[in-house]
């Protein structure tokens, strides 16, 4: 078999970029609220259903994409204001458990409303690779994904480093009391973190679904696990770690899938996780304290 290394690498990077974006959404909430949002996959799936229906109704992919962003933001706002705000912060497990409850509520609601069938999700660009001579290089869709994620990362980086709101969000995350003394409305920043994060998560899920089996209430379960692995490897506190680890894991999983079959990918993730944790418990990047009790 002639292995299309280049194509696999490109596809892997695109996939990794999505993992990175989704992991970044996890990092956003972690930094804003010190909560690992286990409901992010389910919330993103809800956004994808909204996008799916908007696209189906209007025949326009871009309106669907906008709908995913908006509905993600709204959902993030609702979840924070309606549920997470009331969780006991002194119990470190409480937020995770409540998020799990949300996962159950959201996925089952989707399944009741729309059934459990896989629905094919349209892609705005072809997924067949461009060929240069005999060599398959990269698909337009992968290029699109890479471009979207690059724009997203740039926008987030600018938001956090160049704007007052970004500065206020970072300050609120690191030092809530000092921030309040300086007039930062910490509660609002937390809500904003959820809103932003859920929008990013919805976008990432929307990008990944055309490359998978299709839309289903559990479509983002594995995406969540992959992104969470990225976070374990890169550190929930580190946006840069999320990006680097995301790209690496995307490439690894794509090669694993190509050589060992798609079913093997979830096993590979567990092996990577167990391996990293047993051999290098502090993760591949720093920020040891974040993970260790």
């Amino acid at each position: 078999m002639d292995v299309p290394i280049l194509l696999l690498a490109g596809t892997g990077l695109a996939r990794g970029a999505i993992f990175a974006a989704f992991a970044l959404a996890l990092v956003l909430i972690w930094r804003a609220a010190r909560i690992a949002n286990f409901a992010q996959g389910a919330m993103a799936t809800v956004s994808c259903y909204v996008a799916f229906h908007v696209t189906a109704l209007t025949g326009n992919y871009w309106l669907g994409l906008a709908a995913a962003l908006v509905s993600g933001a709204v959902l993030g706002w609702v979840v924070e204001r309606g549920v997470m705000r009331f969780v006991d912060r002194s119990n470190p497990l409480a937020a995770v458990i409540v998020a799990i409850g949300l996962v159950m509520v959201l996925t089952s609601t989707l399944a009741i409303a729309f059934g459990a069938d896989y629905r094919p999700m349209p892609a705005p660009f072809p997924r067949e690779p461009i060929r240069i001579g005999d060599v398959a290089v990269i698909s337009p869709y992968s290029l699109f994904v890479l471009a979207v994620v690059a724009v997203l990362m740039l926008a987030l980086a600018l938001l956090f480093t160049r704007t007052g709101v970004g500065l206020a969000m970072r300050a609120a995350a690191f030092a809530p009391e000092v921030s309040r003394l300086n007039g930062v409305r910490v509660d609002r920043m937390r809500t904003l973190g959820w809103t932003l994060s859920a929008a990013v998560g919805g976008l990432a899920a929307l990008l990944v679904i055309p490359t998978e089996l299709g839309l289903n209430p559990h479509a983002a379960d594995l995406l969540f696990v992959y992104a969470f692995t990225v976070a374990i490897v890169g550190g929930l506190d580190s946006p840069v770690g999320a990006v680097v680890a995301g790209l690496a894991i995307g490439v690894i999983l794509t090669f694993v899938t190509a050589f060992a079959g798609a079913t093997f990918a979830p096993i590979a993730i567990v092996v990577i996780l167990l391996g990293v944790l047993l051999v290098r418990p502090q993760g591949l990047f720093a920020a040891r304290e974040a993970r260790v009790a």
Binding site: F174, V178, S179, L181
Partner: protein, 252 residues
């Protein structure tokens, strides 16, 4: 003990003080720390709060900035009752608290820390000018503007905390032990700066200090707090002259 200053102020029918505290009770959980504290800070004046460790000085400032709820009593600022004002709203009214312990945000740079103080005004250009003015006041900070908070020395952090408070355009500055751990020369510099701001902007300062002599030397009024109660509130000079009081509560 009567609060002679406020008493005279009222008799003279002068405008009410900028900050007017009466019957303030506060504490942590069950333990009451402040027992019916009365206090007033006229606009443009410096009031020093002195007293032994654990007297409740920091607690008083925490209540004034809203970090700690009052159990009873009233706090009026510029005539308004502050009871319902949240912490993040008080800075908007002009009350800026610099807590003890140098609260520079470790993960932010010096420049970002300074900008944090004026974010609430939402005016980028004015904020830039204010931050630059802060650098002029504290040249040591200007040299470190891209350093992160955790990389600063103790003195630099204290300067940063005070500079950030000034960026916030305070009308009343609540300073908790600004001299702690600073070289006397830097303390003198900071106090000089504050005196200047007071003259220039009419800034009022409520100053908590361990170093009683230097605090009273810059303050107009001294308030002695003992076990959560005000035992004396007099012009600084009068306090320094009262040997009995000094021996009993200030230890010199």
């Amino acid at each position: 003990m009567t609060d002679t200053l406020t008493a005279t102020a009222r008799h003279d029918a002068q405008p009410a003080a900028l900050l007017e505290v009466s019957g303030l009770v506060a504490g942590y959980g069950q333990g009451e720390v402040l027992h019916a504290v009365d206090l007033s800070v006229p606009a443009g004046s410096v009031v020093a709060v002195v007293g032994a460790n654990g007297a409740g000085k920091s607690t008083l400032l925490r209540v004034l900035s809203g970090l700690l709820p009052a159990a009873a009593g009233t706090v009026r600022f510029d005539g308004d009752d502050l009871a319902s004002a949240a912490v993040e709203d008080r800075i908007r009214r002009g009350i800026v608290h610099v807590p003890e312990g140098r609260h520079a945000v470790a993960e932010l740079t010096v420049d970002e820390n300074l900008r944090l103080g004026g974010l609430w005004r939402g005016d980028r250009r004015e904020l830039r000018a204010d931050v630059d003015a802060a650098y002029d006041l504290f040249p040591a900070l200007a040299a470190r503007r891209t350093s992160h908070g955790h990389a600063l020395s103790g003195g630099e952090r204290q300067m940063l905390a005070i500079a950030r408070a000034l960026v916030a355009h305070p009308r009343l500055l609540l300073l908790d032990e600004p001299s702690l751990g600073l070289a006397p020369r830097i303390v003198a510099e900071i106090l000089g700066t504050l005196a200047h701001l007071r003259a220039e902007r009419g800034l009022a300062i409520l100053l908590v200090e361990q170093n009683v002599r230097s605090a009273l030397s810059v303050a107009d009024t001294g308030v002695v707090l003992n076990l959560g109660s005000v035992v004396a509130a007099r012009p600084s000079a009068a306090l320094l002259d009262d040997e009995q009081l000094r021996h009993a509560y200030l230890g010199f």
